[in-house]
Assembly symmetry: C2
Homo-oligomer: 324 residues x 2
């Protein structure tokens, strides 16, 4: 076998910009919030310079430089490079690698540049009002989203197409069988239907309907990246103990439930939530109780960090044989 250097390897020396995007999430005032720039129109992003050993260290470097705060849990989301959706205004091609970051503490605003670029937290439901089912079905769904989707269905060119559209809407938006994990799928469908045209760098949509925008827009495809992050997080809290990355060191079970509800965007069953938590052995009592918001004082709990080492997490759906 020839040495590595001699082997031909089909790689292009492309003049393409590589950008790192971050969906930084924190729970503030029982709301899932996202760090943004420019009044909520932009996710923080930075260049990937070749001088970092890994992508993640590159990300951590500029996020911490920009926010003066160490980053906790970080995971890669997706790599986008759609020509039409990223940077149509500049002629330059951009590959954007996005990350999800969870933080427990507030980002120090002092260190950041003042003025237009000042970072700020925004509730993610500002961008996706139809995703917040904590108080029942969101009004914007019935009032705005569904009527426009129905018009989009009717605008199909032929019956086969119309049937297809109806079926897709039914799967993703049916109230009776709402699946909170489909954040990205729903956003992509709305985008395809021309209902979420973005502020900058978007291709003119195929079917621009009157009535315009639903939910706050963002520049480039940042709202799509945000949708990816929310979808990932909602799926993940179901099989990995990531909520605790967003919680303070001590918390009540009620606070924990509110946190999960904020992320999942729907109310949970109190008693069963509690049973689920303790039968998984995720938390332990600190011994203290909280002086709180009315009602009986609640025990404080802390996350058992050890279990990150103890568990490998299952994930079964196959009828496994015991005769291995």
């Amino acid at each position: 076998m020839p040495p590595a250097a001699n082997r031909p390897r089909p790689t292009a020396f492309s003049s393409i910009a590589i950008e790192l995007n971050a969906v930084l999430v924190a729970l503030i005032d029982e709301q899932p919030q996202v760090l943004t720039l420019e009044d909520g129109a932009l996710l923080p992003s930075g260049p990937f310079e070749g001088d970092h050993p890994t992508l993640q260290t590159g990300l951590r470097a500029w996020v911490e430089r920009q926010t003066h705060h160490p980053l906790g849990y970080v995971e890669q989301l997706y790599t986008f490079a759609d020509r039409s959706r990223a940077a149509a205004t500049s002629g330059r091609r951009i590959v954007s690698i996005s990350y999800l970051g969870l933080t427990r503490e507030l980002i120090d605003k002092e260190g950041a540049a003042a003025g237009e670029h000042e970072p700020g937290w925004q509730s993610w439901y500002r961008y996706f009002p139809w995703e917040d089912w904590r108080g029942g079905a969101p009004v914007s769904l019935a009032r705005q989203v569904m009527p426009r989707l129905r018009r989009w269905i009717d605008a199909a060119s032929d019956t086969a197409d119309r049937r297809q559209r109806r079926q897709r809407v039914e799967i993703n938006f049916a109230e009776a069988s709402w699946n909170e994990d489909l954040v990205l799928q729903r956003y992509e469908l709305l985008h395809e239907a021309g209902l979420v045209p973005e502020a900058g760098g978007r291709r003119p949509v195929a079917n621009p309907l009157p009535g315009g925008v639903i939910g706050a827009p963002m520049h480039y495809d940042h709202r799509r990246i945000l949708a990816t992050g929310i979808a990932r997080l909602r799926a993940k809290i179901k099989y990995r103990p990531v909520v605790f990355e967003l919680m303070p060191p001590g918390f009540t079970l009620g606070q924990l439930q509110l946190a999960v509800e904020a992320l999942a965007g729907r109310p949970l069953h109190k008693q069963n939530f509690r049973r689920l938590i303790d039968q998984q052995g995720l938390v332990e009592e600190t011994g203290a109780v909280s002086a709180e918001t009315g009602g009986r004082p609640a025990k404080l709990y802390r996350f058992r960090r050890e279990i990150l080492l103890e568990r490998a997490v299952a994930g079964t759906k196959l009828p496994l044989s015991r005769t291995v």
Copy 2:
């Protein structure tokens, strides 16, 4: 708000090569096989040129050019850019975006370049022999992997470190609670322990133990990418009907079970597997029966493609309330 072109946007015009890698999987002779180059030492990879509208079309373009065969199911895996693991030999920085592709049919070898670059299929268990539990615990696990991992544990600098190592090995490699989804975690642990040094472009490992390589090596970090693909696929077959992308149009339930077993790397319980399949309504009888390998003739089934539109797939683990 200023127009998009005026807004400063922190992107670097990096001179970094962008590469697309493909883990192309097919089921051949009841084995999960992967398309490779150079006698199995390399995954097919190609450049991302800026002239494609999306990353996926870029990938499809060169894969189809190289193999003269249309690509079916495709999904993005991960983006790596570790300096130490990708291309240490050349000085150039490479960002490699990897994809998983599933194909039902053989790739046409005629169209490909002859000689050293001729593509060929390899069983993926050639690279990860410890992952094949279809015939019970693989011998290489007890004979090779575990003894070396134990030496790695003993080689820890202090007791805390030793305890940590023991725990990680226990979680990922314990026979009693083997989790077939942890392919990537296990590979990364073996890599960290210096047990899977790769042929080219790898940083000299911290703890090179005698006894050398376990499983067939690959160049660069391609084995890591392959591990990512296998892990993703094993996890995915549990909640999405992707196996059918690998099956012929008509198949028996026995063949289907063998296919899932090949991917999951472990034997399944026949009766329960059948119940699971038909209670999910995934398949329907074609009416035909197969002339087969001995024993009673089996009914042939086909995948109900419609269900891809009918279902949104659940994925619950939270105690949801009905009082929405």
